[in-house]
C-alpha cells in the first residue's frame, strides 16, 4: 500500500499531523500500537486532570459549611477511587472517539499495531509493508524506568494508574517535573500520606525559582514531604527508601521519572541525541523524508507544542511555508492551586542582562477570588524597564492554566505593561489582577 504520509503514533502530535494531512488532501495512514490519543488522552493530561478535579471537588465539599451549606459532614465524606476513575475514563472515551471520528472524516487510515521503519519510505506493521513519501515519527515519551533496584511489585507506573482497584495509604512519588507534583498533590488531596522524592537540581526544569519554592512550600503546608536528594537507595525491606540515613516506608511507589523517548524500531539508523531523536529546524531527522515530532524529539514536553509541531511538519513536507516556534509556550501545572508560566524566568533575564522589574498582585486582594474562596495565589509580571515590554508572566491561582492565555496573547503581540494596565478587565473577575499588576508596573497601582 502506498501513502503520501504515514504517521507513527496518535498522540497530540500524531493525530494533529494526520488531520492536517487529510485536510490538505494527502493520502494518510496513522499507526497506533495502543490507544488512539496517546499518552495525553489515555493516561496523561486528560485522565489525570479529571482525577485531580474529582479530588479538588472532594476537598471543596469538605468546606461546605463555610459556604453556608448545612448537612455535609466532612468526617463521613469518602473519596471513591473507582468512581473517579470511571468518570475519567468516560471523558477519555468521549475524546478518543472524537479523535477517531476526526481522523475518519479526514480520510485517515487508522492502523493498529507496532510500526517498524524499514527504509526511508517504508514501514512494516503486522507484517504488512506500507510505503509513503514521508514518514512522521510521533511516538512520544514515557517516564524512564527506575534506575534503583526496587521490587517491581511495589512500583506503580503511570500507565497502570487507571488499572488500580485501590490506592494504599502510604505513597512515595518519585520524580521531578509537573507530573510528579500533580500526582503527589492528587493523592494528598484524597487523604493519602505522600512523600515526594526527586533527584534533580530543579523540581520543575524551566520554571521560575520563585514559583518552584512557592510550590514546595505549598506542598509542605498540605502535608506532603518533599525530599531532594542525590542518594536514593531502596531500603532493605524493598518497600522503603533510604535517604540521608533515614528510612521512609511506603506501600507503593509511583514512578514519575523524567521522560525517555519512545523510539520506534528502524532498519535505517535514525540519529539521536541524549536519547531523543535529533531533528533540524524543520523537524526532519537525519533522513529528510522522516520527521520526528512531539516528545520524541525532546524539544518540548508539552502537548500543545506537540500539536503545533504536527501541523508544521505536514505543512513543511508539502512545501507550505511557515515557521515553528518550539519554546515560547505556556507551561501549565495542574497543581493545587494551579501554576502557569509563560516567557522568561527571572534567571533568564539576569543571564541576558536585561534590566527588568517584577510587579505582582495577590489574589487575596481580588474580590472574585475571595468570593469563590480561591484566594490563594498571585500574579507576577516581569517587564523590561525601559520600554515596558512584558517578558514573562507567572500565575498561581486555581484557574491559572486558563488565565495564562491572556498573558500569551499579550506577549504574542509584544504588549507593554502600559497595554496591560489600560486594558479594562471586567469586575469582578480574577483576571483583574492582570490590570492591577500592569498599573503597578507603571507606578499607579490602584488597589494596593
Amino acid at each position: 500500500m502506498k501513502y503520501d504520509v504515514i504517521i507513527i503514533g496518535s498522540g497530540p502530535a500524531g493525530y494533529i499531523a494526520a488531520v492536517r494531512a487529510g485536510q490538505i488532501g494527502l493520502k494518510t495512514a496513522i499507526i497506533e500500537k495502543k490507544d488512539i490519543g496517546g499518552m495525553c488522552l489515555n493516561w496523561g493530561c486528560v485522565p489525570i486532570k479529571s482525577l485531580i478535579e474529582s479530588a479538588k471537588f472532594y476537598n471543596k465539599i469538605k468546606k461546605a459549611h463555610d459556604f453556608g451549606i448545612k448537612g455535609i459532614d466532612p468526617k463521613v465524606l469518602e473519596f471513591d477511587w473507582l468512581e473517579s476513575q470511571k468518570r475519567a475514563s468516560g471523558i477519555v472515551k468521549k475524546l478518543t472517539k472524537g479523535i477517531e471520528k476526526l481522523l475518519k472524516k479526514n480520510k485517515v487510515a487508522i492502523i493498529k499495531g507496532e510500526a517498524k521503519i524499514t527504509s526511508k519510505n517504508s514501514v512494516t506493521v503486522n507484517n504488512r509493508n506500507l510505503e509513503a513519501d514521508k514518514i512522521i515519527i510521533a511516538t512520544g515519551s514515557k517516564p524512564a524506568p527506575l534506575k534503583h533496584q526496587f521490587n517491581k511489585k511495589f512500583i506503580i507506573e503511570l500507565e497502570e494508574l487507571n488499572k488500580l482497584k485501590e490506592i494504599p495509604k502510604k505513597l512515595a512519588v518519585y520524580g521531578h517535573g509537573p507530573v510528579a507534583i500533580e500526582i503527589a498533590q492528587l493523592f494528598r488531596l484524597i487523604d493519602k500520606d505522600v512523600t515526594l522524592f526527586y533527584e534533580a537540581d530543579d523540581l520543575v526544569p524551566g520554571l521560575d525559582k520563585f514559583l518552584t519554592s512557592y510550590i514546595i512550600s505549598s506542598m509542605e503546608k498540605q502535608g506532603i514531604q518533599v525530599i531532594k536528594t542525590n542518594s536514593i537507595k531502596p531500603g532493605t525491606k524493598n518497600n522503603s527508601i533510604d535517604v540521608n540515613k533515614k528510612t521512609f516506608k511506603f506501600d507503593k511507589l509511583i514512578n514519575c521519572s523524567w521522560r525517555n523517548a519512545v523510539i520506534p524500531d528502524s532498519k535505517k539508523e535514525i540519529k539521536t541525541e541524549k536519547g531523543f531523536i535529533k531533528t533540524n529546524l524543520f523537524l526532519q531527522t537525519n533522513i529528510p523524508s522522516i520527521y520526528a515530532i512531539g516528545d520524541v524529539n525532546g524539544e518540548s514536553f508539552l502537548a500543545h507544542s506537540a500539536s503545533a509541531q504536527g501541523f508544521f511538519a505536514i505543512n513543511h513536507s508539502e512545501g507550505i511555508k511557515g515557521e515553528i516556534q518550539l519554546h515560547n509556550y505556556p507551561m501549565n501545572i495542574y497543581s493545587n492551586p494551579e501554576v502557569a508560566q509563560i516567557g522568561k524566568t527571572e534567571q533568564q533575564l539576569k543571564d541576558l542582562e536585561i534590566d527588568y522589574m517584577v510587579t505582582s498582585y495577590p489574589l487575596s486582594l481580588n474580590s472574585k477570588a475571595l468570593a469563590e474562596g480561591n484566594e490563594e495565589g498571585f500574579i507576577r509580571i516581569l517587564s523590561e524597564k525601559k520600554l515596558g515590554e512584558v517578558l514573562g508572566v507567572q500565575i498561581v491561582s486555581h484557574n491559572a492554566t486558563d488565565m495564562i492565555a491572556e498573558a500569551t496573547a499579550f506577549m504574542s503581540v509584544e504588549a507593554t505593561v502600559y497595554d496591560v494596565a489600560k486594558t479594562v478587565h471586567a469586575h469582578p473577575t480574577i483576571s483583574e489582577v492582570f490590570m492591577e499588576a500592569g498599573h503597578d508596573a507603571i507606578g499607579q497601582a490602584l488597589h494596593k
Binding site: 525601559k386 520600554l387 515596558g388 515590554e389 503581540v413 509584544e414 504588549a415 507593554t416 502600559y418 497595554d419
Partner: protein, 422 residues
C-alpha cells in the same frame, strides 16, 4: 464652516514636501487658485493653490519644515456655509468645488469638515489621521521605534499580516546604523567627511533608480553611427534657428528619429502591467529628456514628439533645459513620458548603461560625437561617429527587437531627410 486643507497628493509618487515660503497670513482672505505656499518636493518647487474661497484661520508648518501628503496645511473659514458636518449633500458640494485645482489634486475627505470651533479639532483630526498613517506594529515595536528614532512606516514588518515586530525595528536600526558607522565613528579628523542631509530630489532619484533596477530586467546594446549628413544639416540650420533664439543641437533629430522608430516598434513604447496581467501599448510618443542640474537629474517630457517639427522640438528642449536649471519645472512637465533619452555626450561620455525610467520599456543614451576612421567605399576616411547606448526592459523587449529598433533610429539619423519622408 472650517475647511482643513491637507497637503494634497500632487502625483508622481511624491509623499512629502518642504515648505519653502508662505504667501498667506492668518486672517487673510483667499480665492480659489491663490497660491498658499511654495512647496519644495523631491522633484519640483511648486506653488500650492487654495482650493476654496475664504479666510485663513490657521497655518500649519514653518518654513523649512517637511510636510507629508495628507497632513493639514491650512484651515480655511468658508463664509456663508452652515456648520453642519453631518450634512452629506453639503459635504459633497464643497468637495466638488475644490476638486481638480492642480492636476490630480486629492482633496481631503469628509472628515475635513468640522464645526468652526477649535474644541475637539485635535481629537477629530487624530481620528482622521490614524487609520491612514498608523503602521501595523506591536506596542513594543512602537516604543522602540520612538526610542531609536526609527520611522516605523518605513519598516517592513515580518509578523502576522506584516505587523512590525520589535525585531524588525532592531534590524532596521542596525542596518541604517551600519551605513552611518563610517561617517560617525571612523572620523579621525574633523574635515575628512562632510555630512549633508539628503535633498528631496536625491531621495527621489535613489528611490526611482532602485525601483527600476529591482523591477526591470535591464539589457543593453551599443552601436555607433556615422552622421556626416546630419552634421551637414545641423550646421546649415543652426544659424537660422539662432536668429530666432533657438539653439539647435543634435538632440531634436535624435528625438524625432526615436519617436518615429517607436511608432514602428510598439513594444518599446509600452509598459508591463503585471497587476492586471496585461501590456499597455501607448499610441502617444512623449519622450523624457534627462537634464543634469546642480541638484541632480530631472526628466522633463516633450509631448507628441512624432507630430512636432525639428524647430518646435528644438525650442521646447531649450525651454525645458532653462526651466530645469531654474527649478521651474512643474510636475505636469514631467508626467506621462513613454520613453526617455539621456544625452551624456554633451558632457563627454561615449558609452554608458543607462537605467530605465521605470515603468517605461527603454532608454536611449547619446554619447559624444567623435572623429574616427571609418570605411566608406572600401576606403578608410575620417568620419564623425555618434555612439548610442540603449537599455531595455528585457521582460518586454527581446534582443532582436531592440537591435532592429536601434537600426531604425540609425537609419533615420544617417539619412535625416527620411525623417520628413517617412
Amino acid at each position: 464652516m472650517r475647511y482643513i486643507f491637507k497637503f494634497p497628493d500632487i502625483g508622481e509618487g511624491i509623499d512629502e514636501g518642504t515648505i519653502a515660503e508662505w504667501y498667506i497670513e492668518k486672517g487673510q482672505t483667499v480665492q480659489v487658485g491663490d497660491a498658499l505656499c511654495k512647496m519644495e518636493t523631491d522633484k519640483v518647487v511648486t506653488d500650492i493653490p487654495s482650493p476654496k474661497n475664504g479666510t485663513i484661520s490657521a497655518r500649519y508648518g514653518k518654513i523649512g519644515e517637511t510636510i507629508n501628503v495628507g497632513d493639514p496645511l491650512v484651515e480655511i473659514e468658508i463664509e456663508g456655509t452652515e456648520a453642519d458636518a453631518g450634512n452629506e449633500q453639503q459635504t459633497e458640494a464643497v468637495e466638488e468645488e475644490g476638486a481638480g485645482v492642480v492636476g490630480t489634486l486629492e482633496i481631503a475627505g469628509n472628515n475635513a469638515f468640522l464645526p468652526a470651533s477649535d474644541e475637539g479639532f485635535d481629537e477629530k483630526e487624530e481620528e482622521d489621521k490614524k487609520p491612514k498613517k498608523k503602521a501595523l506594529a506591536t506596542p513594543v515595536a512602537r516604543a522602540m521605534a520612538k526610542e531609536l528614532g526609527v520611522d516605523i512606516s518605513k519598516v517592513t514588518g515580518t509578523g502576522p499580516a506584516n505587523r512590525v515586530m520589535k525585531e524588525d525595528i532592531q534590524n532596521h536600526f542596525n542596518q541604517s546604523g551600519k551605513s552611518k558607522t563610517p561617517s560617525n565613528s571612523n572620523i579621525s579628523g574633523e574635515n575628512e567627511v562632510e555630512i549633508e542631509p539628503l535633498s528631496q530630489l536625491r531621495k527621489s532619484i535613489a528611490r526611482n533608480m532602485v525601483q527600476s533596477k529591482q523591477n526591470a530586467a535591464h539589457m543593453s546594446v551599443f552601436d555607433e553611427i556615422e552622421i556626416e549628413e546630419l552634421i551637414r544639416i545641423r550646421t546649415k540650420y543652426k544659424e537660422r534657428f539662432a536668429e530666432q533664439n533657438v539653439k539647435l543641437s543634435y538632440l531634436p533629430f535624435v528625438l524625432k528619429a526615436t519617436a518615429m522608430a517607436l511608432r514602428k516598434f510598439k513594444a518599446l513604447n509600452s509598459e508591463m502591467d503585471l497587476e492586471n496581467n496585461q501590456m499597455i501599448y501607448k499610441k502617444y510618443y512623449n519622450i523624457g529628456i534627462a537634464v543634469d542640474t546642480p541638484d541632480g537629474l530631472v526628466v522633463p517630457v516633450i509631448r507628441n514628439v512624432d507630430k512636432k517639427t525639428i524647430f518646435e522640438l528644438a525650442s521646447e528642449i531649450n525651454e525645458m533645459a532653462h526651466k530645469a536649471r531654474n527649478k521651474e519645472i512643474s510636475l505636469d512637465d514631467m508626467k506621462d513620458g513613454t520613453f526617455t533619452i539621456t544625452s551624456f555626450g554633451s558632457i563627454g561620455g561615449m558609452f554608458a548603461v543607462p537605467v530605465i525610467n521605470y515603468p517605461q520599456a527603454g532608454i536611449l543614451g547619446i554619447g559624444r560625437i567623435v572623429q574616427k576612421p571609418v570605411v566608406k567605399n572600401n576606403q578608410i576616411v575620417p568620419g564623425n561617429v555618434l555612439p548610442l547606448s540603449m537599455s531595455v526592459d528585457h521582460r518586454i523587449v527581446d534582443g532582436g527587437e531592440v537591435t532592429r529598433f536601434l537600426n531604425q533610429i540609425m537609419e533615420y539619423l544617417s539619412d535625416p531627410v527620411s525623417l520628413i519622408i517617412d
